[in-house]
């Protein structure tokens, strides 16, 4: 009893973690299921069919590659635009700073469905055809703010004296930026880009409103909840989880090594 009280935080924390991981385990286990009907919601029997043929479902891998493309372009767009804004906000004093800050903050302080719906009214009024381009525009828009926040945090902690030093050593503005500023800001920009990619790739609500008949991967999963969920969805889900864990763990190891080698110097 005393042991429980002493470790209450640890027990409660680990229970929360179990709650967070449980669906991932279910997704993994059910990727080896052989469902009886159209839906993969109850366990039938073990099978590796879905893993042997991940793209064996009509349109699924097409939607997956479309999502990857959109996420890639949206990431590039949002990262470039967002980093520029972040630099301007941190490094310069100018009029309308407050207005710019609220314009960045508002998209994050609004339920996604409001943004999605208002964007749809714009596209409807302009007579724009819904599809790849409208999705890309929407994704770039809502990822932008998150990139600004991520990059801003990094630029704020940068020492401006390093750039002054570069200038004192007769580096031109371009040289200073490419050889000093950019490398120091890179982790923040990378974090912003990763966040943008994850947000765009996984976005459902905004895509649901602005995709027309174009089917991204989340849209495919949504549709399958009505029509029947193929086991391959669980395969993709499991693979994404595994890849993410590997990337994040790899990043941790590399940054840990760097820290260590920096210390040992």
């Amino acid at each position: 009893m005393r042991w429980i009280r002493k470790n209450l935080v640890v027990i409660a924390g680990l229970l929360t973690l179990a709650y967070m991981i449980l669906p991932n385990i279910v997704v993994m286990v059910f990727s080896f299921n052989k469902p009886a009907g159209r839906f993969n919601y109850s366990w039938q029997e073990f099978s590796t069919d879905a893993w042997e043929d991940p793209c064996g479902v009509a349109d699924m891998c097409g939607s997956l590659s479309l999502s990857l493309q959109i996420a890639l372009w949206a990431t590039i767009g949002a990262t470039v635009l967002g980093s520029m804004i972040a630099f301007a906000l941190v490094r310069y004093r100018f009029r309308a700073r407050g207005a710019v800050n609220s314009l960045i903050f508002l998209p994050m302080a609004m339920p996604e469905v409001v943004m999605a719906a208002s964007l749809l009214t714009l596209f409807l009024n302009l007579g724009a055809e819904l599809g790849f381009w409208t999705i890309l525009i929407a994704h770039t828009m809502f990822c932008l703010s998150f990139v600004v926040v991520a990059v801003k945090a990094r630029v704020l902690s940068m020492d401006p004296r390093l750039e002054e030093a570069a200038r004192d050593l007769y580096a031109g503005p371009v040289q200073t930026f490419v050889r000093v500023t950019l490398p120091i800001a890179a982790p923040g920009i990378a974090a912003g880009a990763m966040l943008a990619f994850a947000l765009s790739f996984d976005d459902f609500i905004i895509t649901n409103f602005n995709s027309g008949n174009t089917v991204t991967f989340p849209m495919f999963v949504w549709g399958s909840a009505q029509r029947g969920t193929p086991v391959q969805i669980n395969v993709i889900g499991t693979a994404m989880f595994a890849i993410a864990v590997l990337i994040v763990a790899g990043g941790q190891i590399i940054s840990g090594r760097r820290k260590n080698s920096a210390l040992s110097k």
Binding site: P23, I104, N208
Partner: protein, 308 residues
């Protein structure tokens, strides 16, 4: 040693500097222009279009015209206030649950994890990368009728209590309000844990020692030192949970029933199925107003200014 006197250029360069300095003043504006333009055209302008749509009347065939028909707002509120109340109630409950569940985990990672810290952080972030729709569908399996979760909760009498509270019906979990709240809590937990962790991690552990030296019990230390210092995390965490949860329609659709529809479900079906744009736009505006007002009041009362 003599290197320090190297840049002798300053008096000579004086007149030349003048022109670039005007250009330099424009630099922030050039940096801002593309991104801000994007946000104005694809974020601010759409809101204007939506405002105009909400006061239009007409039909899809005949076209819509601005008639300043403000009545739409009242009609929409009259018809859909149950869904509005439900959204606030579900999102609020999920936010409180997220705080109660997320705090111990954030605390664990920040203070007790030691060398396990990075692993735990990875485990908090990694589920993000499996499409949240796939994970939400997995809850259908977990909460399924006659499944182990339902059976256990039923045998310990938990479902009797929640049925009495109106959160579940009989011995089912799926398609009840509790299932929707469970899904919302699950979906937005990382958004609570990460800000909590960030603000907890900043707390100097020596403050805990100091509290202990002054004979404060563990609970007193938490109440008087740790929790107040983690307030920025609590505020941004609750906002990051409540705002998206209030507009969500995925959980209510996948895990709920017709009796658990939230305002997001109404907006979605009005826009994409019924095609009644004015009502949909009005609903969306009311939701935005409700959220912004609640958030402003909350920030005032919680008293943390710098959130971003």
């Amino acid at each position: 040693m003599t290197v320090t006197e190297a840049p002798p250029a300053s008096p000579v360069a004086e007149p030349v500097v003048h022109k670039p300095s005007v250009r330099r003043k424009l630099v922030p504006y050039w940096l801002l222009l593309p991104g801000i333009l994007w946000l104005v055209v694809f974020f601010a302008l759409p809101l204007v279009y939506q405002a105009s749509t909400s006061v239009q009347t007409g039909s899809l065939e005949a076209g819509f015209k601005v008639t300043w028909h403000v009545q739409t707002y009242w009609d929409a509120l009259n018809e859909y206030y149950p869904q509005f109340l439900r959204s606030v109630l579900y999102a609020g409950t999920a936010t409180i649950l997220c705080l109660l569940l997320g705090y111990p985990l954030a605390y664990l990672i920040a203070f007790k994890a030691g060398r396990w810290r990075n692993l735990l952080l990875v485990l908090v972030i990694a589920p993000f990368f499996t499409s949240f729709l796939i994970r939400t569908l997995a809850w259908k399996t977990i909460l399924a009728d006659g499944g182990p979760v339902v059976n256990v909760l039923d045998s310990v009498g938990f479902l009797d209590v929640t049925s009495w509270l109106g959160m579940t019906e009989g011995n089912r979990l799926l398609a009840t309000p509790l299932a929707v709240v469970c899904g919302l809590t699950y979906n937005f937990l990382p958004f609570m844990i990460l800000p909590l962790y960030t603000s907890l991690e900043r707390i100097d552990p020596r403050l805990h020692e100091a509290a202990g030296d002054l004979y404060a019990k563990g609970s007193t230390t938490f109440r008087k030192v740790t929790f107040p210092l983690s307030m920025p995390g609590v505020v941004s965490g609750t906002l990051l949970t409540f705002i998206p949860a209030s507009g969500d329609y995925v959980n209510a659709e996948l895990l709920g029933s017709t009796d658990t529809k939230m305002v997001g479900n109404v907006i979605q079906s009005q826009f994409l199925r019924v095609l009644d744009y004015p009502t949909a736009a009005a609903l969306s505006f009311i939701l935005m107003a409700v959220v912004l007002i609640m958030v402003t009041v909350y920030i005032r009362r919680a008293g943390t200014e710098d959130l971003v």
